[in-house]
Symmetry: C2
Subunit: 258 residues, 2 copies
């Protein structure tokens, strides 16, 4: 049986990787890497450091896959993403066929957790439908949401209350549910600027790394600080990976904000 | 400085613990354990196995804290929980004072991730307000949600779409947001029975352990199977820890269910 393992390697802290992930890493014959261009240089360095640390034997190969062109401002976002996945699945199916023995183990090292706003699992599932005998294995990893709450030392949820994980795109479109705190992912356009003044924001970037940045406070007080921090960071690193939790200032929670 | 470390130890798989958690475990002088009574015997066995594995030196002490009485059917759920936390905080503050040296390290081993539907962090934060010089550290762990999606080999979110993490209590009360998939925690009363027939459920219990159970399918097809599986498991183990993801059968996602 051929295996394709999606290994969550955490959100940036080199020790936020599980023993299960380390064990999985040690079984890998071929690491597949999707070539994202120079802006993701730090991310690929992190992946390489993970390999060097946990595979000192160097008994593996790395196979680079091109990333198909993608329409970044499509009329139909979902359809454009699915089309892009489809083309990635074709490239990966060919690579699995060409590079892995029938009892071989291929792997992707996935930033954070493979289940959370990452397309690798969808692509791999498509490939498994095309390649008979290919088994998909998912190894969970610490997500940026968990790194965020850990570093701010806050619970994700208030007592007995819901939390919605959503995107910057939806927040910017005004899709803010009532009575529900929010975690916002993939917010390239600073959608938090649209939040009410009295909401409370817990923001973090490059979590767990030496470049980590944390800002928290009432939105009215800190939104400009976050804008400045993001601009500085983008200039310094060439990219930013950030996320935030919003405690809505609504009446449902009464006096308790935590 | 005195440290109180909340260490996430994962949802049941002994290897789903991070290197950071193992390092933290190795610095601990005193493990605090809240005595939950016999029904949590398996959980305390898991904690003890974690200690035996990662602290073969046995150079630590274990201090048991009683769990204050709690009204399980209060008129005001939030107030009852906050009152219970307050009494736990008083007990913990006294224990930190009595058991930890001024440079000592105390810890709780927290099931799953310390940020997610667990009260230890709230209690610890209260204690830090009462005990000068007490530093709280949070070490994230793999949550049952992550174990669930990994074992079902599914993404948590559909492409660009939100996911709400909520409770069985809220689901039973009909608080089901539109256009949003759901993760349901703490569902002691089988609130999934109230879901529409065509929603899709991914259910799991004792995730990552040798007793793991997984069921998935359209709600109409599998809801009775889940009821039976839960009843059998409760009889066999004396307790159950389960969670599930619901893909709502709404129109927003079009043809794509994944």
């Amino acid at each position: 049986m051929t295996e394709l393992v999606l290994i969550g390697i955490g959100a940036g802290h080199p020790d936020q990787i599980t023993l299960e992930a380390v064990d999985a890493l040690q079984r890998v014959d071929v690491f597949f890497v999707v070539d994202k261009g120079p802006e993701r240089h730090d991310l690929s360095q992190f992946r390489e450091a993970v390999c060097r640390r946990h595979r000192p034997d160097e008994g593996y190969r790395t196979v680079r896959l091109p990333d198909p062109e993608r329409d970044r401002h499509p009329a139909d976002y979902g359809a454009a993403v699915r089309d892009w996945h489809q083309r990635r699945a074709e490239l990966l199916a060919a690579a699995v066929h060409a590079e892995l023995a029938s009892d071989g183990v291929g792997a992707f090292l996935v930033w954070g957790d493979p289940a959370l706003f990452d397309s690798t699992l969808r692509v791999a599932t498509d490939v498994a439908l095309q390649v008979p005998g290919l088994e998909i294995v998912v190894v969970p990893g610490i997500s940026s949401i968990q790194a965020l709450t850990a570093r701010h030392r806050i619970p994700l949820n208030r007592i007995g209350r819901p939390v919605q994980i959503t995107t910057g795109r939806r927040l910017a479109a005004g899709e803010v549910p009532e009575g529900c705190d929010l975690v916002v992912m993939l917010d390239g356009a600073a959608a938090f600027m649209t939040l009410p003044d009295l909401d409370h924001i817990y923001w973090g970037a490059y979590l767990g790394t030496t470049s980590e940045m944390l800002i928290e406070g009432v939105v009215a007080d800190v939104r400009d600080d976050i804008i400045r921090a993001r601009a500085d960071a983008r200039e310094r690193h060439g990219w930013i990976m950030d996320t935030y939790l919003i405690r809505r200032n609504d009446q449902l929670g009464g006096a308790s904000r935590v």
